[in-house]
């Protein structure tokens, strides 16, 4: 699959619009408007809606989607595929079509691309770029107001997978909705990650009846059931279809990251990087776009974490370091979802007795939730000032998407 002789033969219109997009990206970056890549991609798509189709052609391209873990899994997979050659990737997390296009424009001759794509846009992007593989991580409630019903998303993904006769679909078979979405794919690869956010999959996505879960298996009376996994993760050990057992031994913490690694290794194997080689490359990763990063400030050492929905919080609450104050920053912008009802599905009661500061643009919503959870807290809308309220030492900082992004860029700016 290793191709180095790739040239982009694009019609004049596409080339001109890509050039216009690059110029805009440059102007945007230099005028201080932040994410230049996104705006550049947006201009190009406006000028030429076919641009993505043309620039994505002639590469081995893998799309990664799901509610949680897209950025991490994409980084893992890119790192693995770099074994074979240059990889284009939207490692900044810009996962809408314009961000995807910008990532491909930035590396026009890379023979490989790993692109995380927002689950609602995956069908459209997949149709344009005809990927060689798609990785389906998980599907749960996220951004209630924007994506709408998760079951609708599953149906659209299912239809999209069925329209990709040549693609391999690497899917987490412990997730009912993901399995349903991948079941009609021509070449599914099933990975058991042991990770299951069950609340959203009680009723069968195919027939609406209750799905029965028993001892790690699940099934429905309509016949939809957990397929036999090709790859299986148990603790730190990943069993491969070839009968190897790989000890992951990652530097990134938590079960969620081990699950992401299992899916990334299965995908990498199918693109041509064997798991024993790929896993060594995964072990070099210690930081995902600033997540799990520790920021050293004058008086505080801040441990940054992203949690944007109840499933993400379920992963985060157990890894918070004990006896350390927690700053929680919640925004409610378009990219976060404007409906913050999900805060009530997070068991914040577990933070009782800890020093908590409520921050972010929607800290008022968070404060009400904490009050009803009997968690005493301080209130400071600005997350950086919230840190400064605390005594010198370590701080756990958990933020949702735009709050997190804003913090990373403020900390980077301060350096």
């Amino acid at each position: 699959m290793h191709r180095t002789d790739v040239t982009i033969r694009s019609p004049l219109r596409s080339r001109a619009s890509v050039a216009a997009g690059r110029l805009t990206a440059w102007l945007s970056r230099n005028a201080g408007f932040g994410s230049g890549g996104m705006i550049g991609g947006r201009v190009t798509l406006k000028l030429d809606p076919q641009a993505l189709r043309r620039i994505g052609r002639d590469r081995a391209l893998v799309l990664v989607t799901g509610t949680n873990g897209k950025t991490t899994t994409s980084l893992m997979l890119s790192r693995a595929l770099e074994e074979l050659g240059e990889v284009a990737s939207n490692s900044d997390g810009a996962n809408l079509p314009d961000g995807v296009l910008a990532a491909l424009m930035a590396r026009p001759t890379a023979p490989f691309a790993v692109l995380e794509v927002d689950e609602a846009y995956l069908p459209w992007v997949a149709e344009q770029v005809q990927p060689s593989a798609v990785v389906l991580l998980n599907l749960s409630r996220d951004q209630l107001d924007r994506v709408g019903e998760v079951r609708g998303t599953e149906r659209e993904l299912r239809a999209a997978m069925a329209r990709l006769p040549n693609a391999i679909v690497v899917a987490n078979c412990d997730d009912v909705l993901v399995t349903s979405a991948a079941m009609d794919a021509a070449h599914p690869i099933w990975v058991s990650t042991g990770r299951l956010w069950r609340d959203d999959s009680v009723s069968c996505p195919r027939c609406g009846h209750a799905v029965c879960h028993l001892m790690g298996q699940w099934s429905c009376t309509c016949g939809l059931k957990r397929p036999t996994p090709d790859w299986s993760l148990a603790g730190d050990l990943l069993s491969t279809p070839a009968g190897q057992v790989i000890d992951l031994d990652l530097r990134l913490p938590g079960d969620a990251n081990r699950a992401n690694a299992a899916l990334a290794l299965a995908a990498a194997d199918n693109v041509g990087v064997p798991p024993d080689i790929a896993v060594k490359r995964l072990r070099t990763i210690s930081d995902i776009g600033g997540r799990y990063r520790t920021i050293r400030r004058a008086r505080h050492s801040v441990h940054l974490m992203l949690a944007k929905n109840p499933a993400g919080w379920a992963e985060t609450l157990p890894v918070l370091v004990e006896n350390t104050p927690v700053v929680i920053a919640v925004n409610g912008q378009e990219a976060d979802g404007r409906d913050l009802s999900w805060l009530w599905d997070v068991p914040f009661e577990q933070l009782r007795g800890r020093h908590v500061v409520a921050a972010g643009e929607r800290s008022a919503d968070l404060a009400v939730r904490l009050r009803y959870a009997d968690v005493s807290y301080q209130w400071e809308r600005d997350p950086v000032r919230a840190i400064d309220l605390l005594a010198p030492g370590s701080v756990e900082l958990v933020a949702n998407y735009t709050a997190f992004r804003e913090l990373v860029s403020r900390f980077d700016h301060d350096r």
Partner: protein
């Protein structure tokens, strides 16, 4: 086990009618009772469990189309909730919960289903999904404070003569004809998420007052006042 004086709040089929943080309404009711010295317990009623008819209050939350159909089937086969209403229990339904409590609803697949008939409401799919902040002025005897929440639904609901609206829409869509929600006796339903009782303590206390048979003393929570001020101030602008 709880004794006679404990208020028992039923969380009805939370695994299918709980998409929008709806268990939060149960948390709010329980804490508002506890802070006033009244014991309360939340009783989840799950698929496969019998539906008890002896609880004091029942909460039905939001869910997606399939989940809603599953819920209404189950509750028609196990009519504990209907029996409880006949003997005076208080009910709050939100979004899908509203549609389930009504007489009929038609989902986007065109299939019409019978609801529980506890509210005189028929729901049909609208042309576009109503998504955004919703503000409503409550009807007479249903409180003085404006209602705030987040709506996200395709359904448009039409009330018959046995139900009255919970309020009149000041911003947003609500039922689709300028009214919002429905009330028959002690059965109340709304399209407001947030969750609704977290944002609207007066509505929470109205339900609790019906349940206890007397109005409750006020409870000052500065963070709730601040959240309401913030959400209601945005009533005139977008976002």
């Amino acid at each position: 086990m709880t004794d006679e004086s404990t208020v028992r709040i039923g969380l009805v089929l939370p695994e299918v009618l709980g998409t929008y943080g709806d268990s939060g309404n149960a948390t709010v009711l329980r804490k508002r009772l506890e802070w006033r010295g009244i014991d309360a317990a939340v009783v989840p009623v799950r698929l496969g469990d019998p539906v008890p008819s002896g609880l004091d209050l029942y909460l039905l939350g939001g869910g997606e189309d399939d989940a809603q159909a599953l819920a209404v089937d189950y509750l028609r086969k196990h009519p504990g909730l209907q029996r409880a209403v006949a003997s005076g229990a208080v009910v709050l339904g939100v979004c899908a919960g509203l549609q389930v409590l009504g007489t009929k609803f038609r989902a986007i697949d065109g299939v019409t289903q019978h609801g529980l008939g506890l509210l005189d409401v028929i729901t049909e799919p609208g042309e576009t999904r109503a998504v955004g902040e919703l503000i409503a002025i409550p009807g007479a005897h249903l409180g003085d404070e404006r209602l705030t929440g987040f709506e996200n639904h395709l359904g448009q609901s039409l009330l018959g003569s046995s139900s009255t609206p919970l309020g009149r829409v000041a911003r947003g869509t609500g039922n689709g004809d300028g009214t919002e929600g429905a009330v028959t006796g002690k059965v109340v339903a709304t399209y407001l998420h947030g969750p609704v009782l977290a944002r609207n303590p007066a509505l929470a206390d109205l339900l609790l007052g019906w349940l206890l048979g007397h109005p409750l003393p006020p409870l000052e929570l500065t963070e709730v006042a601040r959240l309401r001020a913030e959400r209601l101030a945005r009533g005139s602008s977008r976002s």
